[in-house]
């Protein structure tokens, strides 16, 4: 379902409730050479994922208002769209017993852009 058209620019879904940080994250994705798609919360993200099968990577904040946080979103993605790679970020340290879904990378906020970019390249490869 993903990866359908090899050779085109990978698409990265950026999920972040804070507009300024979302803008910044989208810029990081662009600087990495990919195409960002933006969502302001997990519900929006799922709606986008349902309508766009070409998303390869989801770059999501963990702490978002509303019922679904980034960890639940990641679990949902693992369940419904297993091939999608996930990058999570948070201003809080990860809770001690957090179970990270498989093939998921975590960055504490504020993150180094070069590392996130490197990670995007690895996941998109």
């Amino acid at each position: 379902m993903t990866n359908s058209d090899q050779g085109s620019i990978p698409i990265v879904l950026v999920v972040e409730d804070e507009p300024l940080l979302r803008l910044f994250a989208a810029q990081v994705v662009e600087d990495a050479g990919y195409e960002p798609v933006e969502a302001a919360n997990a519900a929006e993200a799922i709606a986008i994922l349902e309508s766009r099968p070409d998303i390869r990577i989801v770059f999501t904040d963990i702490d978002m208002p509303g019922g679904l946080d980034g960890i639940k979103l990641a679990a949902c993605i693992r369940d419904r769209w297993p091939p999608i790679k996930i990058i999570m970020t948070s201003g809080k340290p990860l809770p001690p017993r957090t179970v990270m879904p498989a093939e998921t990378v975590f960055f504490a906020k504020p993150y180094r852009q070069d590392r996130v970019i490197a990670s995007l390249h690895t996941l998109a490869a």
């Binding site: 804070e18 906020k109 180094r112």
Partner: protein, 511 residues
């Protein structure tokens, strides 16, 4: 004293009484609800009788010498099996045993198998009274010894509970520990702690200690299902019931209590701002008295639990608050990063922009270490590891030194210094070449208030080093040193760059 072993002091007294009054039988009879029990006896082969057969209980409330010259003719005793049966008691004289508290607990009595119309001589009566007082004194002494031993038990139990509460990091752990000690020392069937709802109608029993074989009452209970228990608890008074079958608050419906094998109970309220918020529950399977010392003990246990739980709650609130502050601070740092990144996009020289971001991230990493310690002391090594991790090349940096606590400010400035040293090593020093490495070691010189920390940064295996021609912000940061007041020595040696940073250990921990 009931059902205690024989004791010489009491045996001696009954022997003297029988000789003094010239009777074959002498007894110390202690009166119980349904029986009389003989603490000491001569001339009789039974240890107790039903209370109905007791002559000692006749007129006991008058607390006076009772003499019945002919038991066969006295209406109170004529039909007593001890008189009509083969024992055929004929004469009785008994002096009351009155404790210092005024309570009459029984009699010292002498009994003959023949009636004695003349009774006892005045001298015999006087001596019997005196012996009775001796018995009472002996009983009082034993009681006092028992009470003080009991008090000692309760006191050491209270100390143990205090220690267990202090050592607990969870409220449930505290209440379970307290319940176990209370259950043991009061020798009850059950001890538990329950949280009470704001209307004092429901109790949720959390921790529950039970004697072996006794069922737990953990779970939710409605006070109304067990009787009229609420009023005392709402008023903040301890609910003390010695016998659920006779107590006016529970006697109307004892089935619920008996279903839980409760014969007697204490519910000690835990108060908060004038309101009962929890109760400490003690259940006994059989009716029993609760002494003032035991109630005082339970009051103290409840108070200690309240203080302990309040301490935990305050600590937890502090942790939550710290987490929230830190989260906001880091979000703010992220916003600063986002703004700077967007604002400086047009700048063609990327290096300063990247340095800025890295410094921001290093500061944030030190912040994380401090948060994990609730903004108390962070360990030097932990801070150094966090900063090295943000820069990378961790496998080429060796860290070695004793544990050194850093205060919040010292941890932040130390992290910035290490970050700059790391960055420089990556750009110009040993980390920019394959095989180059850094040794970061620290020692403490001296002791007490004059002790100083010396941090040594040694780069090896890098390219030839030269002192930089200009001093940028990075090298200024390094020169500020561990506490922002200098103490930094930089050397551009042929083997590699070296830095020594000095600061007072005391200053580091306080800053």
């Amino acid at each position: 004293m009931l059902d205690t072993p024989e004791e010489q002091a009491f045996d001696d007294i009954v022997f003297i009484a029988s000789r003094t009054c010239d009777t074959p039988i002498a007894l110390i009879s202690l009166l119980d609800h349904d029986r009389q029990w003989f603490k000491a006896r001569v001339g009789l082969d039974v240890g107790e009788t039903e209370i109905a057969q007791s002559m000692c209980q006749i007129d006991i409330d008058e607390a006076d010498m009772l003499v019945i010259p002919d038991l066969t003719r006295d209406p109170r005793t004529a039909t007593n099996p001890l008189v009509t049966g083969e024992r055929a008691f004929g004469f009785y004289a008994g002096t009351p045993l009155v404790l210092r508290s005024g309570v009459v607990v029984g009699r010292l009595c002498v009994i003959d198998t023949e009636p004695r119309p003349e009774g006892l001589t005045p001298e015999q009566l006087t001596l019997l009274r005196a012996l009775g007082r001796q018995v009472s004194d002996q009983l009082d002494l034993r009681r006092a010894a028992q009470i003080s031993a009991r008090l000692l038990d309760l006191q050491s139990a209270l100390i143990e509970i205090g220690e267990r509460i202090r050592a607990s990091e969870e409220a449930v752990e505290m209440t379970a520990a307290a319940a176990a000690v209370v259950g043991r020392v009061l020798q009850v069937e059950r001890a538990s702690f329950g949280v009470v709802d704001p209307d004092v109608e429901i109790v949720d029993v959390e921790a529950d200690w039970t004697a072996p074989g006794v069922a737990s009452i953990a779970g939710r209970h409605r006070f109304a299902d067990y009787g009229a228990l609420r009023a005392d608890l709402v008023a903040g008074e301890p609910l003390v019931i010695e016998d659920v079958a006779t107590d006016h608050r529970t006697s109307a419906n004892t089935a619920a209590m008996h279903a839980l094998d409760i014969g007697a109970l204490v519910n000690m309220p835990v108060r908060e701002r004038g309101r009962t918020v929890a109760i400490f529950i003690v259940n006994a399977a059989r009716p029993r008295t609760w002494t003032p010392d035991e109630l005082l003990f339970l009051r103290s246990v409840a108070d200690r639990l309240e203080a302990g739980v309040a301490r935990l709650r305050a600590e937890q609130q502090q942790i939550v608050l710290n987490g929230e502050i830190s989260h906001r601070l880091k979000n703010m740092l992220s916003m600063v990063q986002a703004i700077a990144s967007q604002t400086l996009r047009a700048v063609s020289e990327r290096e300063p922009v990247e340095s800025f971001e890295r410094r921001l991230v290093a500061l944030s990493a030190a912040h994380d270490v401090l948060l994990q310690k609730s903004w108390k002391d962070a360990d030097l090594q932990t801070v150094a590891e966090a900063v090295v991790e943000t820069v990378g090349f961790g496998e080429r940096v060796t860290l070695d030194g004793p544990s050194v606590p850093l205060g919040a400010r010292a941890a932040l400035s130390f992290s910035l210094v290490i970050h700059e040293l790391m960055t420089n090593a990556c750009k110009y020093g040993s980390l920019c070449m394959e095989g180059g490495h850094v040794e970061l070691t620290w020692i403490i010189e001296g002791s007490g208030p004059t002790a100083s920390l010396i941090v040594r940064w040694r780069e090896r295996g890098g390219p030839p080093v030269v002192a930089p021609s200009r001093k940028g912000f990075g090298s200024k940061l390094i020169r500020l040193g561990l506490t922002g007041t200098g103490g930094t020595e930089l050397r551009y040696e042929p083997d590699g760059f070296e830095a020594d940073l000095r600061a007072s250990v005391e200053h580091l921990a306080q800053a």
